[in-house]
């Protein structure tokens, strides 16, 4: 395995793509290219959680795919800081929309540039996110052909298109989030996240619509695998359901698995991604096997027939 932490932008330390590249072998793919998965951890656009980074990358690498962890632009620049929620955040530019989404675009281009060196099947690059990272992936999946990306990178849309999207406990509808009942903690996390991502703790509805993937789903949105828990008390499961509804309306292929129990932020829901016992849930952990089968439909490795 080749591990390498790559800066997306030479002058920034905080935005990095870490490779988990599977060694080629004459006894395995023998020079043939593998699909790739880009993992976007969550963290309310404040940081990127390690719990949704390497453990997830290793699990997908164990399926036979090259994986990448993207630490995209966040308020605390990749460092885990637990902010004092009672104190207002200063506005910062680097982490605001559309920068986090563009970080995915930049990663896509870097990976495609390394096609021959890393043996990447560039027709099969998926993005996989959790929480805010899932939101970032959902935004990317509904904007890959937008001038926000194609003009910015001066690349044709097909260079930017992800082949498949896996979203865990995503946020998808900011208007719904704004209007839904929130306890004090939810309210403060929402405000802080808005300051980080939108430069304003209480943006107008027009801004919220801009960053609500449910509003941007079209028939060109790539296939999605959605999962979450009905008992999520931080990001209501309706975000997942509403996104599935939009996919269904637009006849985009998708799967959705809602588990009854489980807190927000389960990641793999196994010991491998847990710090606390409560972050393990053997039922919700089934999402990984379900996603594995779903991916195989599209990403099955080109093995040699017979023996």
């Amino acid at each position: 395995m080749h591990i390498e932490k790559i800066r997306l932008y030479e002058n920034r330390e905080d935005v990095t793509l870490t490779t988990y590249l599977i060694d080629d072998s004459t006894e395995l793919m023998n020079g043939k290219k593998r699909p790739a998965i880009i993992i976007c951890p969550g963290g309310a656009y404040m940081s990127c959680s390690d719990r949704e980074a390497e453990p997830v990358a290793l699990r997908f690498a164990a399926m036979g795919y090259h994986t990448f962890v993207l630490k995209y632009s966040t308020y605390f620049k990749g460092k885990l800081v637990v902010p004092d929620l009672n104190q207002e955040l200063l506005v910062q530019e680097h982490c605001q929309y559309p920068n986090p989404m563009r970080d995915i675009g930049k990663s896509m281009l870097i990976i495609k540039e390394q096609e021959e060196v890393w043996l990447i099947d560039t027709e099969k690059i998926a993005i996989c996110g959790f929480s805010a990272g899932a939101h970032n992936c959902a935004m990317y999946a509904t904007h890959w052909n937008s001038p926000l990306l194609t003009d910015y990178f001066q690349k044709p849309a097909e260079m930017m298109r992800p082949s498949a999207v896996i979203l865990g406990y995503t946020l998808s509808d900011y208007i719904f989030m704004k209007n839904s009942e929130k306890d004090e903690l939810q309210h403060l996390v929402f405000e802080h996240s808005n300051t980080a991502f939108l430069g304003n703790k209480n943006p107008d509805n027009e801004t919220f619509e801009l960053v609500s993937p449910v509003k941007w789903v079209t028939k060109n949105t790539p296939p999605m695998f959605l999962w979450g828990t009905a008992s999520d008390e931080l990001v209501p499961v309706q975000h997942t359901i509403k996104l599935a509804d939009a996919l269904a309306q637009n006849k985009v292929p998708f799967a959705m698995h809602i588990f009854e129990d489980g807190n927000h932020g389960l990641s793999l829901a196994t010991q491998a991604s847990a710090q606390f016992q409560s972050q393990i849930d053997t039922t919700a952990a089934k999402w990984v096997e379900l996603a594995e089968k779903w991916l195989e439909k599209r990403f099955a490795l080109p093995l040699t027939p017979g023996l």
Copy 2:
């Protein structure tokens, strides 16, 4: 993840231990130590198969364990060579018993020396092998307290003891192997492997008994997880059954899973460890989940209670 290929002996390139060390994080184990698994690939003591190396290491790393791939002493010194079975092998010293078993001992000591740097829970080090690699692990598991290891390394037996052993399609009884019906291919592979491992294509029964783990199981043999396929045409499944029988007689805790279908050498039995379609078997692939649960009984990570 920290990947590092370590020479077991400075003057030899062919015997290496490759680390798959999981990054520590304040959001995960936060400085606490993890159990470790040493993987021994198969290859008839002629070579070490890549199909039973990195793909397996990644799957166990995805469970939250530090993993290591040991390329132990083999005839072709780690290089994949398909020998002409019709030509006799010259006798070589470096790959002969008990060298491959001592390579496991040396790995155990290296890993324990790095306890604090790598954050290894030295009370929880398992060995996991396939085919000849499983035989090597079974030999080690029945000889960890033998002078062959303790005198050789000048270490107390408890330093050498593995905590758990996972064996896929193992060889365990050379007398049975010698006497069992063999087709031409099996016969030639057996002879070549004997030349590599025992320095003689047709050793006497005393030699065969020395290297038959079934003869050496005692109540001090560590717990084992055994799996294989009833339709294995290269190493008959009786090797697994006989070893289980010896464990039962000695009241050593064990699990055994024999799947009806599947060729020799399935490894993970998924696309991740396959070159050919025939190396995938979705039923036999269940061994990994069964082993995961079995390991968790002993190796569950020391997570923080509550949240």
